[in-house]
């Protein structure tokens, strides 16, 4: 459950390494769009335009919005694929840039140019976000009294769960100290279970008048991302554990076991996702505590009448050292018990 070592901070808007990344973006886009040639796309966009006119008259708002969405997808696909052509134009081919120059309508030409630029920037941003876990961007603080002219540095930390991008976490930093370049956390969307303030105090201390500031933004972001990834991994481990416990419970119910495990769930008061509650059918309760990286720290099962139940703990843990071991142990236990007629469970 250790965090991903590959971490880099890259600026989405900088021009350095632009050509390399554009090539990569192009390759990505070509792969994505090669099934449709751009000519058919143009015609389909036109036909959608016609249809939209008709529907507008009938004021069929729902269909219009679907078609508009479709149109947006087509437009961005089209522009992205023309971007490919644009690169070719340097070597003699035809591309959107050339098309723009040939077009006589100045408004359309301008529109296309801005659209193209925006799409290029967006593609690059998406690429960076996909490949690097942390990206940075600039924000203008809308507050007219904001420090440092409202310049804010935004840091976007991607979170991934089960091969899907979740909503990223943001940390926005500004430079409030006079005569100093030191940063301070201005706004953030980090949940309270992650010790952001402690990390900020360690890596981004406010400047002292007598000594030069020793701020380490890279270390701050790296450790913050590490904490976020760990947090998500712990959450995932607990949900997996719960799934295993459910499976186990169903098997035990079939077997008529009175001392079966009922539920394993996250303690509600626990912000860090480290405490796991365990419930048994006969009223025993337990608690499992894991460390930062999912290693088992403490496990205890208590019953109202007999006090601590060490036997149950042994049964639950075996020789597990990590939370995942407990989950796989629970699942294996079901498999062992599983007679052919109970195969329906799997």
């Amino acid at each position: 459950m250790a965090s991903d070592p590959s971490i880099s901070i890259s600026s989405g808007s900088s021009d350095s390494g632009l050509t390399e990344d554009r090539k990569r973006a192009e390759r990505l886009n070509t792969v994505r769009e090669n099934e449709q040639s751009s000519d058919t796309l143009v015609s389909s966009v036109l036909s959608i335009d016609d249809e939209m006119e008709k529907l507008n008259e009938r004021a069929n708002a729902e269909q219009v919005s679907t078609l508009q969405k479709q149109l947006r997808i087509q437009v961005s696909t089209l522009i992205a694929s023309y971007t490919t052509g644009r690169a070719e134009s340097r070597t003699g081919g035809t591309g959107l840039a050339q098309l723009i120059e040939e077009d006589n309508d100045p408004l359309l030409r301008q529109n296309l140019a801005t659209q193209l630029a925006a799409q290029n920037a967006h593609n690059q941003q998406c690429l960076y976000r996909t490949c690097a876990g942390v990206t940075s961007f600039r924000v203008q603080d809308p507050d007219p009294n904001a420090v440092d002219g409202g310049r804010v540095l935004g840091i976007r930390i991607e979170a991934v769960r089960r091969a899907k991008f979740l909503r990223p976490y943001y940390v926005l930093l500004n430079r409030p100290y006079p005569n100093s370049q030191s940063l301070r956390v201005h706004r953030h969307t980090i949940p309270p279970g992650i010790p952001l303030s402690g990390l900020a105090a360690r890596c981004l201390p406010p400047p002292q008048p007598d000594q030069p500031a020793k701020q380490d933004l890279v270390k701050f972001v790296r450790s913050l991302r590490r904490e976020i990834v760990r947090h998500h991994h712990r959450l995932y481990a607990v949900s997996y554990l719960r799934k295993a416990a459910n499976l186990n419970r169903r098997a035990a119910e079939m077997a008529g076991d009175d001392e079966r495990l009922v539920d394993i769930y996250l303690g509600s008061a626990d912000a860090e996702a480290k405490h796991v509650e365990i419930e048994y059918a006969d009223g025993r309760t337990g608690r499992l505590v894991m460390g930062d990286d999912g290693e088992l720290t403490k496990v205890v099962v208590v019953s109202d009448t007999a006090g601590r139940d060490r036997e149950a703990v042994r049964e639950l843990l075996g020789n597990a050292v990590r939370v995942e071991d407990v989950s796989s142990r629970l699942i294996n236990a079901v498999r062992d018990k599983n007679s052919p007629e109970r195969a329906v469970l799997f």
Binding site: Q115, H122, R138, D141, D143, P144, L172, P178, R187, A269
Partner: protein, 560 residues
């Protein structure tokens, strides 16, 4: 019935019965509830989980034989024969119409004539809280870890610890351990009854504390007692205070309610008492949360509201804690649009994060899009007006994001701001000197705005002034930490000019949803959305604050 009272340090048992006829708190608490709530409460009492602590008065054949002189027909509310009968009876009452009085009398004089337990009273109080979610005023406190104390073993003096800013510990708590420790902190001449309950809709654990100033834990001290009728306190009987502590799930905050006097009791001295009670709580709670070698303290976060939803948003487990107001676009729930695998150009480009750009983009698009074709028939004046309205709406959207909607259900009722900026004359002249029509216009508008604020203040001076003075005094009492950190804040040192006149301006915003009101004013063009200071959007997440250089002083935005 315990006849002998001995002082103890134990807590009040949940099963302690209060006689409705002698304890005014019981009927007072129950009569606050609506008929529907009373009925569902009675059915809750009769459910198998609660029955052991809420036993009703049932028909008892043995007792019947003993007291044969008493005729059952005389009894207006003849005791039921079984729990199931009672359950049927109350379910039937639910379907029929009738007065609240009827149900109340039935409970107090009929089925629970021998007394209502403290547990039942707590349930009734909590039912009232669920029925009237804004009945309590909550203040949010943050739990902060303290540095390990440096005192040696021989030094018995209690040293106030220093907040460990570099600590990576996220505090958490365990209800029963917390309660045991809290009981240890409560003084021996005060008795308390504790009741934990999970909030029905919000992710909260609510602890109700019923506090009684008496060293005894029998019902004598509650001035009840079957026929003895000895008033325990002599203070008019049975008036205990009730405090609620709410623990939001998965977040290091605590919400503390303002103590209220329950039951009749003397009206005098409630204010001072409740304040000291609250201080007692603020001192006791961190000690109850602390463990050996791991100590915590409570720090006020300057957010007071009646709205628990707002508290959970600003001081809860979500992402909005450090990104309120316009910044909430980064914390919003609409994650679908921010997938980096989606190459469709976002409209508006939220991913760019630049609100000004987004605004300009939208404005430009609206100016020349389909709208224009349709609006062509209208006169240029209306068109301009419409465009201005639209622009103001977008401006409000940029400054407030998706927060501060009037029907959002979340808001604060009161915001107190002390402006400590130097008199704006100098800034105005600077702007005029800088020249440009924009600066001129802006300066004039700013003047108007300030005048408006002054008038607002002047109009309600008498009442507001008084409350504010109290609030600021409150603040200093409660919260020396805030002032200290404000003084040390290197960011606040920008102004520094000692010779300039700093008028003391205090602003109080009142209303059901203060920031939604400000948003509406922006949308209607009464407040200039571009020049409006950031604290007026509510992005600082505080309700009490001092403004210097146009920013909330000492508060570090995200609370770090």
């Amino acid at each position: 019935m315990v006849r002998i009272s001995t002082p103890t340090t134990a807590r009040l048992p949940s099963s302690l019965l209060l006689d409705p006829s002698t304890t005014p708190a019981v009927s007072k608490t129950l009569s606050r509830l609506s008929r529907a709530s009373l009925l569902s409460l009675a059915l809750d009492w009769l459910s198998p989980n609660n029955l052991s602590l809420c036993t009703p008065y049932l028909h008892d054949p043995e007792r019947e034989e003993e007291e044969d002189g008493e005729d059952e027909d005389d009894d207006f509310y003849p005791p039921a024969h079984s729990i199931a009968d009672l359950q049927d009876l109350y379910s039937d009452l639910q379907t029929t119409k009738g007065s609240k009085r009827e149900v109340l009398d039935r409970i107090v004089e009929g089925d629970w004539r021998h007394g209502v337990s403290l547990y039942q009273l707590a349930m009734a109080d909590l039912q009232y809280l669920y029925d009237h979610p804004t009945s309590q005023k909550w203040s949010a406190y943050r739990i902060l870890p303290l540095k390990p104390s440096q005192t040696t073993g021989s030094d018995e003096q209690e040293v106030e610890g220093e907040v460990d800013r570099e600590s990576l510990i996220v505090p958490r708590f365990h209800p029963s351990t917390f309660l045991r420790n809290l009981q240890r902190q409560v003084l021996p001449d005060v008795k308390a009854h504790y009741n934990f309950d999970r909030h029905k809709t919000l992710p909260l654990l609510i602890l109700r504390i019923f506090i009684l100033d008496s060293p005894y834990n029998t019902n004598l001290s509650l001035s009840s007692g079957d026929s003895v009728g000895v008033a325990g306190g002599g203070g008019g009987g049975g008036g205990g205070s009730v405090v609620y502590i709410a623990f939001p799930d998965a977040s290091p905050y605590i919400y503390l309610s303002k103590p209220t006097q329950s039951g009749g009791g003397g009206g005098g001295g409630v204010g001072g008492e409740s304040k000291s009670l609250r201080n007692l709580m603020v001192e006791g709670i961190p000690k109850a949360l602390s463990r050996p070698r791991q100590r915590f303290t409570l720090k006020s976060t300057n957010l007071v509201t009646r709205n628990l939803g707002e508290l959970l948003e600003k001081r809860g487990a979500g992402r909005m804690n450090g990104a309120a107001g316009g910044w909430s676009i980064y914390a919003g729930e609409d994650g679908r649009r921010e997938n980096p695998l989606d190459t469709v150009l976002p409209t508006p480009p939220l991913s760019e994060g630049d609100e000004e750009d987004r605004l300009a983009g939208e404005g430009g698009k609206d100016g020349e899009g389909d709208k224009r074709k349709r609006d062509r028939a209208q006169s240029p004046g209306t068109q301009r007006d419409e465009r201005a309205t639209k622009r103001r709406k977008l401006l409000a959207q940029a400054r407030f994001g998706d927060t501060a909607k009037i029907n959002g259900g979340r808001g604060v009722e009161r915001v107190d701001i002390v402006v400590e900026d130097p008199f704006p004359l100098t800034t105005l002249t600077r702007k005029r000197r800088a020249g440009g029509d924009d600066g001129e216009r802006g300066g004039r508008e700013g003047d108007g705005e300030r005048e408006g604020e002054g008038q607002r203040k002047g109009a309600r001076k008498s009442a507001v002034e008084m409350i504010l003075e109290k609030e600021s005094a409150d603040d200093e009492d409660h919260d020396p930490l805030r002032d200290q950190s404000g003084g040390k804040d290197p960011g606040g040192g920008g102004g520094g000019g000692g010779g300039r006149w700093r008028p003391s301006i205090r602003l109080t915003f009142h209303g059901p949803h203060v920031f939604a009101g400000i948003r509406q004013l922006v949308e209607h063009g009464i407040i200039d959305g571009e020049r409006m200071p950031g604290w007026m959007t509510g992005e600082e997440g505080v309700t009490i604050g001092a403004v210097r250089n146009g920013r909330i002083r000492g508060h570090k935005g995200s609370g770090i």
